[in-house]
Point group: C2
Chain length 262, copies 2
Amino acid sequence: MQRLGEERVPERSVDAMQESLDSQSPWKASSDRQTEREAKRVAVLRTAARAFNEMGYHNTSLDDIARRLNVTKPTIYYYVRNKEEILFECVRIGLEMLDEASNDVIGHGGSAYEELIAVMRKYAEIVTMDFGMCVIRVGEEPLTEESRRTLRSLKRSIDRKFRRLIERGIAEGCIAPCDPKIAAFTVAGALSWIGRWYQPNGGLSAHDIAAQCIDLLMNGLGKTRTSGEDHDTRSQGQPSGQSGGQTDRHQNGPSGAGGPSS
Amino acid sequence: MQRLGEERVPERSVDAMQESLDSQSPWKASSDRQTEREAKRVAVLRTAARAFNEMGYHNTSLDDIARRLNVTKPTIYYYVRNKEEILFECVRIGLEMLDEASNDVIGHGGSAYEELIAVMRKYAEIVTMDFGMCVIRVGEEPLTEESRRTLRSLKRSIDRKFRRLIERGIAEGCIAPCDPKIAAFTVAGALSWIGRWYQPNGGLSAHDIAAQCIDLLMNGLGKTRTSGEDHDTRSQGQPSGQSGGQTDRHQNGPSGAGGPSS
DNA sequence: AAGGCATGTTACTTGCGAGTAGGATGAGGC
DNA sequence: GCCTCATCCTACTCGCAAGTAACATGCCTT
């Protein structure tokens, strides 16, 4: 285990480099100063997030993370206080992404209906990414009460925006009257669930899944809809892979892994 | 720590008995034989499930579980092989409950629409109960691959029934055409999410939450529905607490705990 | 060219909690 | 009365992974 970017390159150099690229490990060569340190810190977090999402927090040792980065454990402690801080930061970043996504969309002149859908799209996208997935898959069970409090307030902020949007939609008349609290939870639940079973190389693209999921949430499973208005709910994006009708092949889920629940 | 049901009763006897009742601990006196052993085993599992749901699998030591049962750790090993078996059994029971719930409902002469709603109701109910909640909150990350395989096949069975029901509904014309795969995951996701934040003493009853959640899933958030047919989707049960309109008090979730995600 | 700082490493300590060995206690059968 | 089995306890082992001490290496500054 030597400093990366050295000459002593064993025969697995290509694999090692590939792995470095995959994990976006910046232990190679660069120039800045403080910037690079921050970049490495983020690399630690991102690599950890991936490991957590794949194997779970408790099944991931710091040695595992270090190995993925081609360094040793104490190096990690140079960028991070302890294991908990890693998870805390991963979840915090994920939540911050969700929060910012709402801010990017809300209050820019769109109807509540349009804005809600836009937020949902972003939400679904983020929970399939490293940090966002961490929010869903790992959660905050391993954290201290102190950390949990901080994260909870972030979550509340996101939840509030969802509810306000729904309330506005009801007032504007484009969303059916309902309890915004429950509606927000249901929507967040359905979208979050994507982050639980989604995995790349799964036949379905995250984009398509999100589109159909959102369509279902907005229009419902029941055939009550005689399709009055022409709000575009369906994905108008590039249809990669199969996405439209009932392409139910065999009995496996999109990820090929498990069924519902978990 | 003495064998329960003995005479040496400290001053907290009432509390102890209460706790025993709460956990349904049968370490008292009985008569049967093999039956009682099985009952105790279930008590171990149920108590463990509650502890897991409250504090998470890894934050729950066997000593914790033992303490809740007023026994010591080795006693637990008398009823169970190891910690993993406890979780495995909890999740297995939860999944089996979900599976049986489907069997109770499906194919008894109802329309796909009716049957789907009935299944959803039961699903939502089960994920708010001890073992069902375990399926959602703890998951199977701590289990071995062997155990996971077994549970996955159970999940697939449940998922399959959901999809068949949706397919049937599409054929019957009472459910909007969609990809049954994604629809099943979305529905399961939204309902499962209830098990993640629901907690008794939370103002809203599990029944009401489920009813509104199902209403939303069937009819959608959007106001496309001009409410044609009169399928009863809304909860026709006893309206305990507030349930109808937007009773959004302050910004807290139903459990008073956190927002969405997690 | 020399010292200081940033970055990593090897080799260790340590604590927690899962799991176990072996013994006590009592109920029931003979 | 004695033996056996079921049940539960006290008192341990032990491994894993988090965290740390102390040292190595090289760049950058002056």
